[in-house]
Assembly symmetry: C2
Homo-oligomer: 182 residues x 2
DNA sequence: GTCTTCATGTAACGTGTTACATGATTGA
DNA sequence: TCAATCATGTAACACGTTACATGAAGAC
């Protein structure tokens, strides 16, 4: 269960409203903990209820009015506690691998074009990450926080690298099948 | 979703009871589509209801009695249809990456030992995969089905390879932090 | 005024997880 | 006969997804 901690992290980096959070998830935190605005609003409500964050005063809290949240000391403490928790890696659950395994029993059909499509998507994602690295981590920034954030980004980059090289192998394999699969 | 298709695939490879399926998920299909026995029983019920599989007759279907299922033609057709479906890769959702990003704002605490622990787990998983490769895919088997299943396994191996190399980088980085993180 | 976009939600549902329940079979 | 193990489930709940609803602000 990590969505609340993803939100706490984002809010500590910068107090935000629900929609701002949603956007930031779309182009940063969401790269390794994806979420939708519905989940975010639900979780913001719970975090506020639990006293870990609060809505900044000033504006009247009406529907349709922007509401900014900031992390309270209890929230920061909870995040520190969670960072120190130990948790086993979650078993893989990947539909593409499953499809190929299924293709072994019912035939590869149009698997080739699906592999090509995924290749393109992963290439694009890699390009996105590399653009972020160039923009946010120019040489020379080496405060601890920057080093850690960059480490996470490099995780994303290496993961896309894995996909690209495996997908290329897979595509070659599928196209070489007896009956031709594409 | 894909659990029903994972089950159909497993049942086409070999008709099984719920518990046998659970065991096979634990040491094969589950490596890329994990599941628990509760989910499997629930889904077997639905698949039977939908007419995609059926319980082999013979035994009285009492609680506590083994019940074997086999795939019906409709099930096989549904699996073939699904294999040909196109589906975007699911966005990453990884707690360890999130923890590191959170550590950038609240400090790395005992992150070093957690990274070491994950390293060991991934090394073990890689060893498991390599043992399976040596045992199930000795040189020379090259029927289409075998090639595809081996391809999936090599995906698992490459994925563990990604984790190992990134975790080593991460560990070096975390241990080099100003305040020392382990 | 109306349309679009910003912004915050509600509702319904499906999947996944955790804890527990029940019956059959086997060995001490 | 007792305990352990095999085998099949039920129940409750948390999390994630999809579709829709509502209000405010600015553009035209």
């Amino acid at each position: 269960m990590s969505l609340p901690h993803a939100i706490l992290t984002a809010l500590m980096e910068k107090p935000s409203s629900g929609l701002e959070l949603t956007r930031r998830f779309d182009k940063s935190i969401g790269y390794f903990w994806s979420s939708t605005h519905q989940q975010i609003y639900r979780e913001l409500g719970r975090l506020e209820e639990a006293g870990l964050i609060r809505a900044l005063p000033s504006e009247v809290p009406v529907r349709g009015q922007k509401k900014e949240y900031e992390v309270l000391p209890d929230g920061s403490a909870e995040l520190a506690r969670w960072v120190d928790e130990s948790q086993d890696p979650k078993p893989v659950r990947d539909a593409l691998l499953l499809r190929i395994r299924a293709a072994a029993v019912v035939g590869p059909q149009g698997l080739g074009s699906e592999l090509r499509r995924h290749l393109e998507l992963h290439r694009a994602q890699l390009a996105t990450y590399e653009a972020i690295e160039a923009k946010d981590f120019p040489a020379g920034r080496d405060a601890d926080a920057d080093r850690l954030r960059r480490l996470v980004l490099r995780g994303g980059i290496a993961l896309e690298g894995f996909w690209l090289s495996w997908l290329e192998e897979a595509l070659a394999e599928v196209e070489a099948l007896s009956g031709d699969g594409a």
